[in-house]
Symmetry: C2
Subunit: 323 residues, 2 copies
């Protein structure tokens, strides 16, 4: 059995988590999948990042061609660079050259879905992005596999940990929007520039991916009506609560006799709905399928190890398919 060769592009939070799982949990990965693997390249500017994770410095490279050219020998790249233009270029070239791609980069995949799918088809390579929605929660793969006999009529997601943390603190501790945002930054949930989170853009990217996989309809995330949480006031939250509801930033898509509808916006969720009790930085995806009925998947939507868990899950699926 061939040893699968993996290149990590970026050894920041997510790349580092992926590296740690691949090295520390090697025992159960080998035992459960029977597939052997090695990390052959780490595309990363800062040697400190490799040192931090105990990675062999000889793996460090900034020569992208040595990784994604047709004769590189690499089977799978993990694109954890972030950003848009360079990663999309790299993923497209790799896929066309027959190298499979795993990425948590929701913005890049959502905006370039067709291009990337075509490149994957052209190169007979796999493109997987389970970590792009719901972090560690297995959702995109179950939709495409175990649940693929369902027509999905309803998708509702709490898909952004930062905004859910802020709304939870405003409701439960009476914090102002500004204090809650500061707390989210302090706890590492919010980016230094939280615009994509609080304006709902991150949710729109994730909803785009859920819709195309669960409902078979691609909508460019820029075409999804999107409203964030910056206008939500303490009075709104209190008034909703008095009506037996909590306000959550909801990514919502429905496909039924009324047609295909979708948006991202703050919405009142009745307290007895399964999404109502999803608090703090947790994410959850609620689905309704014509066979399975109501389902909800709940877990950590971000963080080094949860996101790394989903990336490694994708790597393992590709490794098995490559055997």
């Amino acid at each position: 059995m061939k040893k699968v060769k993996i290149a990590l592009l970026g050894l920041g939070t997510v790349g580092g988590g992926t590296y740690d799982i691949l090295t520390k949990n090697r025992d159960i990965i080998m035992e459960r999948t029977g597939v052997d693997y090695e990390i052959t390249h780490i595309f990363e500017k800062y040697a400190e990042q490799l040192e931090k994770h105990g990675a062999d410095l000889s793996l460090q490279t900034l020569d992208i061609d040595s990784i994604i050219s047709q004769d590189s020998g690499v089977d799978i790249i993990v694109e954890a660079l972030g950003g848009m233009d360079f990663p999309v270029q790299v993923m497209t070239r790799a896929l066309k050259n027959g190298i499979s791609v795993v990425t948590p980069n929701k913005a890049a995949v959502a905006a370039n879905y067709d291009t990337l799918k075509k490149a994957a088809d052209e190169g007979h390579a796999y493109l997987k992005f389970e970590a792009a929605v719901g972090g560690g929660i297995p959702i995109l793969t179950p939709i495409q596999e175990q649940l693929s006999c369902n027509h999905f009529t309803d998708i509702m997601g709490i898909l952004n940990g930062t905004t859910n943390y802020i709304l939870t603190k405003m409701l439960k501790q009476g914090q102002s929007y500004e204090d809650a945002l500061a707390g989210a930054k302090k706890n590492g949930f919010a980016e230094p520039d939280p615009t994509a989170d609080v304006e709902g853009i991150d949710c729109a990217n994730k909803l785009c991916l859920l819709m195309v996989l669960a409902m078979g309809r691609y909508v460019n995330p820029q075409q999804i009506p999107t409203k964030g949480i910056t206008d939500v006031t303490m009075e709104d939250i209190q008034a909703a609560y008095n009506r037996g509801c909590v306000i959550k930033l909801i990514a919502h898509a429905t496909l039924n006799e009324d047609g295909f509808n979708y948006y991202v916006k703050p919405e009142e969720i009745p307290l007895d709905h399964p999404l109502a009790s999803v608090s703090n930085e947790f994410n959850a995806i609620y689905l309704d399928g014509d066979a399975v009925g109501e389902l909800m998947f709940y877990g950590k939507g971000a963080g080094a190890l949860p996101t790394g868990s989903a990336i490694v899950g994708d790597i393992l699926a590709i490794m098995k398919a490559l055997q």
Copy 2:
């Protein structure tokens, strides 16, 4: 591409739901998997059952050899007969003869796990039983695939819809145990003889399957300390609620520095725990993995179509593997 041949054994609630999904949702199944299939045999005593689902009466047979002998041409059987001795015999023979098996029969698989696994290995066939735990909720496959890089330290499940319905009605509507059980029977959640449900036996079978797949440890269900809900009084429920808790019938396994521990019993769950809001006939499985952290999967633990969804998911996975 070869047409996969499927035999349904039993066309009761679960077999009927499976038949309906395979026929009514054929469009998306074909589109998403690219695999073609046909139902070649229905092992069922009552012709009315076939008529009820619009199945071709020429498929009806009670000749088990024509289905599970080596030269039957059948690729996959769905064992939805229920019971223990006959189904185990049939599944074992089929697997040894290279015919893959999908079953929701938790009791049969839990008690005979080694025998069935060995038969599958011997015949190079697949044995899948996603529907055996949590009905339609995808849980066993995600544990073995997308989450397989995790060491699981904690599993807590609300795995039985009947008992969860009874406890919910006792708490929320002040019904007596007897009235709530009668309501569960009336609504079709409880069996005419509810012993296996209310005594926790059904939960022990399901916990056995979760433990062997998530933690790699097989424990015969009869060796799992098991207590049902028959002794839970209204006073217990009220006292727990006054302490900020709800009583749920919990199947619990932990594997950590304190060793490997497991049981089924009524347990107090704090109201802010994700399992606390799982009400009525719904099921949920809460897991903690060293990479992914806390996860919860929620949905319908029983019923024709939810259970059928999980069975069809297993059939599709086997069909793809057989190509």
